[in-house]
Symmetry: C2
Subunit: 158 residues, 2 copies
């Protein structure tokens, strides 16, 4: 099952910015993304998950740390127009990703990784997956330990 893992990637140069409580209606994400594109901000990840309050949602972006201030400024400048509540950022993040063709649908692999992080006292700040990748966002201080755990869970050479 684990033969299909091809590696571990670590990215310590990202920051996270979230625009909170935007109206959950058509066109809002477009206006936000357009403002970021017009300010030439390169977006690494976009994440909008389930929001408990009907009618509202949060959109989280990861951007290169050099774009953090511009991203906050851009989102702050449109916040009131959009009727959003706030813009919150977290510069203390690192992305640690397991990469492999066979990851899709493997609940056991994610359980192994998340449990190992838990046993090591590493808190998972964000999670994102795709067919080829399992990404955990942890605090920058935990990046190296998290990466070692990912390597050793799959018999990988460092």
């Amino acid at each position: 099952i684990y033969r299909s893992i091809s590696g571990v990637a670590v990215d310590k140069d990202q920051s996270c910015v979230t625009i909170m409580n935007v109206p959950d209606k058509p066109g809002i994400a477009g206006r936000i993304m357009q403002a970021l594109a017009e300010n030439n901000i390169v977006i690494d990840m976009i994440m909008q998950a389930f929001h408990p309050t009907a009618g509202h949602n949060n959109i989280t972006f990861t951007v290169h740390v050099s774009d953090l201030d511009q991203t906050i400024k851009t989102l702050e400048s449109i916040k009131d127009d959009l009727d959003a509540s706030s813009v919150i950022s977290d510069p203390d993040i690192a992305k640690v990703s397991l990469i492999g063709a066979g990851l899709a649908g493997q609940s056991g692999i994610a359980a192994t990784i998340f449990n190992s992080f838990g046993a090591a006292g590493i808190n998972i700040k964000m999670i994102a997956t795709s067919e080829m990748k399992l990404t955990c966002v942890v605090s920058a201080a935990d990046a190296d330990r998290a990466s070692k755990i990912m390597h050793s869970s799959f018999g990988e050479e460092e």
Copy 2:
């Protein structure tokens, strides 16, 4: 810029389940994932974004519609142990994804898609991205229109 788009994928067979307000401390995601793995549930996407209340977070899963009931049952069975507040599901989803090698970092592409959905009155329920993929979760009724919009935005043949 758009030459690197290779296609549009539509998945109408998924459902969304979120476990709300779990403690945001090491080991929690592992216990949740382990319960799902032990129940042989194939997870399509895992998403944990930024949570405004310090100390809490929500984890959203997309699973095949045939696994929806078992997923809800599994998460309900561990909810109290974990001190989570609730398990919420939404069976009315479809994933519409733009796929292409050149997507990474292209804010303009995401802005085009999100604005086109907005203009068509299509609400975006969830968003997930990776280097190769931009995924929008919309209601099942909007899937075909959303897919047509993605195709036509990039000069694709249907």
